[in-house]
Symmetry: D3
């Protein structure tokens, strides 16, 4: 049941964002792990959610016909967004904007095969006033069973 | 005023946690950037706050005689904790525990020298039930001017 | 993919609490749906979480060796608790107490078999000052895929 | 001062939503209890608030010329909405929508006549992505003195 | 229905805290307005709630046998506490403490007599680390119909 | 390091709002303290933020070319807004509006000169339904080092 320290799904999602050239280790790809990346900049929190959902569907990260997969992804995104906004999920409504890259990783981070697949959603970039340069970095990570 | 993409203070704080062997680049150290790392595991959110504050003082990350520095650090910690808890800062009170490493980086991430010093506080580790293995990864980052 | 209006898992969980004599319809039991009920009164939010988790394990609602099931349950409980506390998950720390009954229902509320199993956690009872009678009713419902 | 277990105002409001044919018991109607029901579907949280307020005024649940009654109702609605959204009152801004029925009940749920009138606002229905079928049930209840 | 600009109940509660010698204007006292003041310092949010509740009862600000009055006061206190903590009601659990004075004012701030009595709860003082001097000012105000 | 009880920056900001004729004491002006005031009414939280930011820039309260000053102000505004909204920063999205006056004060409230400058942002006025008269008072205060 413990996490496999070599299969940390959150760390993989974060490394994909922090190091542009980073690739999912071959060992994980061989185990069937999948990942995708994208970008989104907006003052609308809903556009951040939509961008991640769209990428996940288009790149086959989830079986989007199944609500259970869309539901797992949605809560993962909201948890990541909570980190980015430090709790309130508010962007333009409190006069701030984000420029983010996002990654999604799908795989089983546990030693026990029965734990099945999990999803990590990571967001990293800048948050600040809608004025160039008035911004600092921000990060968020959501992890859910799928 | 823009962020210097080679001087990303949040990214430095995160890399220190995600790659155990990572060191602050010499270029940044030469500019006077400082950093420290530590560990804390607890069901009490206040112990997480205390562990980071204590490390910051003991390792000279802040001038702890000055409230303005302690205040900058405190809000940075709370923002990072918000990411870890996805918004509510609650651990044992909702029956969960964390095992975290933390890092603090101090330096000026902007191109303009007048932006002065900023602080990044990063937390990374696991969160879950107070039962070994019932946990997943979590991250948080707080950034503040000091 | 749509919800089956005759298989509303949340409604079942709520009816189990609102009508003491209510039983899961035979049709649902025949489909393999399971449920359990219990009681908890406390000023500690963590004891509410623990009571529901313990009942779920002891009555076989989840495979407690699997973190993915414990994780699904935990987030379901926190969502229900959020309804009870109207957002902050705080009881004794803001000087209030609850007297609750809880129910858990497990089954597939969707028309599509591939949606698999979901969990509903419902909490109903009173919330108020730690003085007999100074209280009003409260409810919460959390629903998660498992 | 204790709640009268036969006069549970929250339970009445919930039963009105969970069982379409449910009617306020004659005993309560004879005591002057009043209730109303309605429907609202929206991605705008403010439309949910408006729908409940409008129904309350139009159906004489509150004396809408008095702010103290409008105030009691408003906070009751927000508490119910908090249950529906599990704490953040956000719908479209985080890319989700609701399809809800609502009920309002007005009466004295306490044994002591001096407790005067109280208001229960209940919301029940579905919450999910703005795509048919990608949704699960949700509930919320707010109770306030009036 | 409009607020009477000479009968601002919140302003009265705030002035009582900000100017130690301030007294409720005779005009308001003649209309039956009442007020009380007190002090509380703690790392426990529940002790702040308890201190205000106890003062309210002991000084006859509410009819504490009636839950509707205790309920009105409780929500007023929590709203004021939310201002003091800037949203999370957390003190010691996030390693901070408060030193507060509080005031309660009861009266009708509206031009229309039918608006009846309202309650204002104000909190003012300092919040910060549990170390002398590491603190800044904070305020909160809750207003409720009673 | 302690607060100077004659130099309470939050109290100054509050008095500027509560007493229209109030002026910053000459002693503080002589020490270089600065202040400004303004008004804003809106259902959009972002317009409240914008109004305070614009006044601060136009009246020289911050060096708006420096992000560290804009950042200090922004977090001060959000803390004040949190008091006004009692935690959620939501106005029109939950069908309510505000009519506020605001003040900003800049100076060093501590006995130690090394504490440097701090900023207090205060908001005071009414909050309620978008209907004249359906409103009560509200206050918020944010304090930050700059
Ligand atoms: Mg989780
Ligand atoms: Mg910031
Ligand atoms: Mg959900
Ligand atoms: Mg209540
Ligand atoms: Mg109100
Ligand atoms: Mg502070």
């Amino acid at each position: 049941m413990p996490l496999d320290r070599d299969h940390l799904i959150g760390k993989q999602a974060l490394m994909l964002l922090l190091q542009p050239e980073y690739k999912l280790p071959k060992e994980l790809a061989d185990l069937g792990w999948r990942c995708c990346k994208g970008k989104v900049g907006s003052m609308d929190a809903q556009k951040v959610v939509a961008a991640v959902e769209t990428a996940a569907k288009n790149q086959g990260m989830i079986e989007h016909q199944l609500y259970r997969e869309a539901h797992a992804l949605y809560h993962g995104i909201l948890e990541a967004l909570s980190g980015v906004t430090r709790g309130n999920n508010q962007l333009g409504t409190v006069l701030r904007t984000v420029g983010l890259t996002f990654s999604i990783v799908r795989g089983n981070p546990y030693k026990d095969k029965r734990e099945g697949e999990w999803l990590a959603v990571a967001l990293y970039g800048t948050i600040g006033a809608p004025v160039k340069g008035l911004e600092h970095e921000t990060i968020g990570l959501g992890i859910n069973h799928i």
